[in-house]
């Protein structure tokens, strides 16, 4: 057998884990609305996030109507266009991706994967979702107040965010900021839970270096979020004060529309530092869970141990730490002291090294594997492709000099969509195809899934790859119309139309996915406990879907790391984490449907 340290044959006892008392609800409301079961909360988070995400998807379709066919849709005026741009970005980044990865996947997977009955603070967990839900309602309300939602761009830069001349500069921006503050309050309650549960409630034998990378990714992302969101919180509060009672945190002396304003002495650049001190870690708050999840999908479906597990864990930690010292690469042309450029370009390019290592290790996991091209695996490999593309263009923008021509152009839009929209969303889809059988007990339809994958993967590449070249030309972003700009050739307009058509196709195909989710819930093939023959604990539960409390009478004991696939000498090509060495050595088969933890 191998000599690798984390493939320890012995049982390792961590800190004692006390059994927790769970609150079992007796009413329908208590079970489905005010539930304290992390799995129910996960589904609540996921459904809310996906619902509001669909609104943002529809908004992007309207934006593409205007960009692809300018002037043909007169109901999209410049104000509405900017409101669409703003709401689309804000919803997708915060209310969909952050909430879905941490609130959705985090809640569902952390307790199951570390062998806990539930989150450590179930009541706080419940409140977390309800505050998030109110934040979403406030966000939606901001679209219906006089003046509409804010059109300041998702970055909400002052002074324009709170001055006339920008749509929604009265109530719209205030509600937006209130909604963000609520989101952060709600997230903090959930986030504390995720961190404490990982650190405190792992089952016996589940050492940190035996945890699946999914848990590592979500754990580290949560740590980042807990440290980064406060910066956004204070900027939201200060901007509310600037707007409502006329303080000057971010507002210098200004003459707006011919009026001398009362503001003096504030700094718009300060807001940008605060915003990006949150905003850059935010990229990794979305990316790290995706990194973790995709690592597990690759290992399970390639029937192979993730390559370089320890390196992968350290890469997650190093990326997380570095993500706090790169924020101003979003601000190279913001007017901050230009000498900052040297520092931030260097840190930014350094972060490429651990990121590249992760990519190598994913590909090397496929190397000499035994690859099952299941639907989750298609999405996982699709992710690697788009992430390589999006990651490499980050080297253009991060390298301060090259950012000069490319900043504020469509190149930036193409880059961040490739790296933090398409890539994480492909992982989200892969993860849903992968874990849907555990959540519902039924498989999603394979044919529909493959169709969904192919159109989404090829379609999004057709949208965003050519878009980089508009950026090279110098086509600016956040422009309602680029007509009448001399250096933009007619052919760029045709390209824009083509991109829009690809976008409509990709948008429409998502309906197939929702149809699949809906129909399979009732008619999908029975999944059994462990349809993918995976090693991690969530597949070893006695019931599928797992009941409140997750495991049977006793919590599972963990004897090995999460990646014992194709171990030489073992009869099956996987050994679940809770199978003791004695059973493997005796050559006893491991019955996947036995389901009883050791």
């Amino acid at each position: 057998m191998s000599t690798v340290a984390h493939d320890a044959d012995e049982f390792v006892a961590p800190a004692e884990v006390p059994e927790m008392e769970l609150y079992h609800p007796k009413t329908w409301l208590g079970k489905y609305v005010f539930s304290q079961d992390a799995k129910v909360i996960a589904v609540q988070y996921a459904c809310t996030a996906i619902a509001i995400g669909l609104v943002a998807l529809a908004m992007s379709m309207l934006m593409r109507l205007q960009l692809g066919f300018p002037g043909s849709f007169s109901f999209i005026d410049p104000s509405i266009y900017l409101q669409l741009v703003t709401m689309h970005g804000m919803i997708m980044v915060i209310y969909l991706l952050t909430a879905l990865f941490l609130g959705g996947f985090g809640n569902y997977l952390i307790p199951l994967m570390v062998g806990a009955r539930d989150m450590v603070f179930p009541y706080v967990n419940m409140v977390s979702f309800h505050v998030y839900f109110v934040a979403v309602l406030v966000l939606v309300a901001s679209m219906f107040v006089p003046g509409g939602s804010t059109g300041a761009g998702w970055t909400l830069y002052p002074p324009q965010a709170i001055l006339p001349g920008t749509p929604g500069s009265d109530l719209g921006i205030v509600l937006m900021l209130v909604s963000l503050a609520l989101f952060i309050i709600g997230f903090t309650m959930g986030g504390l839970n995720y961190v404490v549960t990982v650190l405190q409630a792992r089952t016996r034998g589940m050492t940190l270096m035996r945890m699946p990378l999914t848990v590592w990714g979500i754990f580290m992302a949560t740590v980042l979020a807990l440290l980064a969101f406060p910066a956004l919180f204070v900027s939201a509060i200060m901007m509310i004060l600037d707007e409502t009672i006329g303080t000057s945190f971010f507002m210098p002396a200004i003459v707006s529309m011919g009026q001398q304003l009362e503001y003096a002495g504030g700094s718009p650049v300060l807001f940008q530092h605060l915003f990006w001190f949150f905003g850059h870690p935010e990229v990794y708050i979305v990316a790290l869970p995706a990194f973790g999840i995709v690592s597990d999908l690759l290992a399970v479906h390639a029937r192979k141990a993730i390559f370089g597990y320890r390196m992968m864990v350290w890469a997650i930690i190093i990326i997380g730490a570095l993500s706090f010292v790169v924020w101003a690469h979003h601000m190279y042309v913001s007017g901050m002291n230009p000498y900052f450029g040297f520092f931030f370009a260097t840190t930014t390019l350094i972060i490429a090294v651990p990121t590249a290592i992760k990519v190598y290790n994913w590909v090397l996991t496929l190397w000499r594997g035994n690859i099952r091209l299941t639907v989750p695996m298609l999405f996982a490999i699709g992710f690697i492709f788009t992430f390589i593309n999006g990651g490499l263009t980050g080297l253009f923008l991060g390298n301060v000099t090259i950012d000069l021509p490319l900043s504020d152009t469509m190149f930036v839009v193409a880059h961040f969509h490739m790296v933090m929209a398409v890539s994480p969303v492909l992982v989200v889809f892969g993860a849903i195809y992968h874990w849907y059988p555990k959540v519902t007990g039924r498989m999603l339809d394979d044919t529909l899934g493959k169709f969904h994958f192919w159109v989404t993967f090829l379609g999004t590449y057709a949208i965003y790859y050519p878009m980089h070249y508009l950026g090279f030309l110098g086509v600016p972003r956040r422009y309602y119309s680029i007509e009448g700009i001399d250096f933009i050739p007619e052919s760029a307009m045709s390209l824009n139309a083509g991109i829009s058509i690809a976008a409509f196709i990709v948008g429409a195909v998502q309906l197939v996915f929702f149809y699949n989710m809906f129909v399979s819930y009732y008619r999908g093939r029975e999944a059994g406990g462990n349809p993918w023959e995976a090693t991690t604990l969530e597949w070893q539960t006695p019931d599928t879907p797992p009941k409140h409390g997750n495991f049977g009478k006793d919590l599972p004991l963990v004897y090995r790391w999460a990646y014992d696939y194709s171990v030489p000498g073992a009869e099956l090509d996987y050994i679940p984490q809770n199978v003791p060495p004695s059973r493997v050595e005796k050559g006893e088969s491991v019955d996947p449907d036995e389901g009883k933890p050791a």
């Binding site: 900043s407 790859y465 110098g474």
Partner: protein, 372 residues
Amino acid sequence: MVFGVVLILLVIGSVLFHFLSPWYLTPLASNWSIIDTTLDITFWVTGVVFVAINLFMAWCVLKFRYRKDRRAHYEPENKKLEIWLTVITSIGVAAMLTPGLYAWAQFVNPPEDADLVEVIGKQWQWSYRFPGEDGMLGTIDSRHISAANPFGINPDDPRGQDDVLVASNEVHLPIDRPVKLLLRSQDVLHDFAVAQFRVKMDLVPGLVTYIWLTPTVVGKYDVLCEELCGVGHYTMRGHVVIDEETDFKAWLKTYPTYAQTVSGVGVESTTAGTSLVEQGRKLAQSRGCLGCHSVDGSAGVGPTWQGLFGKTETMVDGSTVVVDADYLKESILNPGARVVQGFAPIMPPGSFSDQELDAINAYIKDGLGGGS
């Protein structure tokens, strides 16, 4: 099978697209070829990585497909390989970062002898200020800004008296002279960007930021605002014209100094000999009116000027107004007074002399054919 082949085709397609597509960097017209060089280096390094990793991945997908009778190789770690990959990656990163930082060092240090020109942005117009014969710009304070002093020049500063004020979104610069552009905003963030120059920078109220460049090709280039600045953002455009030295000097002479705008002496010379309608047309263009108001009836941020004169418009309060010279003048000087229904009260008040107002009125009335 299919997936591996598709991955290979995507790699080939991406590379072909790069070389065959008509869309790439707009031709350079400044000294910043080092930016293009850095970009090229980055393209080669990242391009090789893109092709290599993806082809390797495609090969893995083709070669190691699932077979029941086979086991995956069990190799959780390979320290040597991981260290090698880390080292090679670090070298690649250094190869891109080094020229990048080298070029940035040039960007942050403008040459000592660079000419000074100030660029002023406000919603949604550009204007410019040149130092006069003393070679120095006078001080500016936003508290001095008024209709009579739109640049906010400090009236007590002797250095500002001879500053040349270009109240137009078109600026001329001499070829082959390094120029340091000082960037100021009066209201919100803007960004001065000319694709052919490569360099750009935000204008921040309360700060003076800068870029520098040496124009190398005579021509007329678009100036775009590239930092979101409100609903008229996409209309905040201008032009920079690169001239031979003599043409540039002749152009600059047509603009008044601050002292001249105060005294009113020597300002009218530029308009001599052109019709009122033509003067109005030029003003409307150079002051950015046409960014929001179309002259062909198409929709924009503000009402179109086509057929505007004599038209009956409904105001936001429900009353109606027949558009005449007085209403137009009022709307230019005090746009918020009576706003047409369906439009937001976001037009910045203009600062125009009486003669200029007459010219714009003439342009709207006679040049754009209002019915009555």
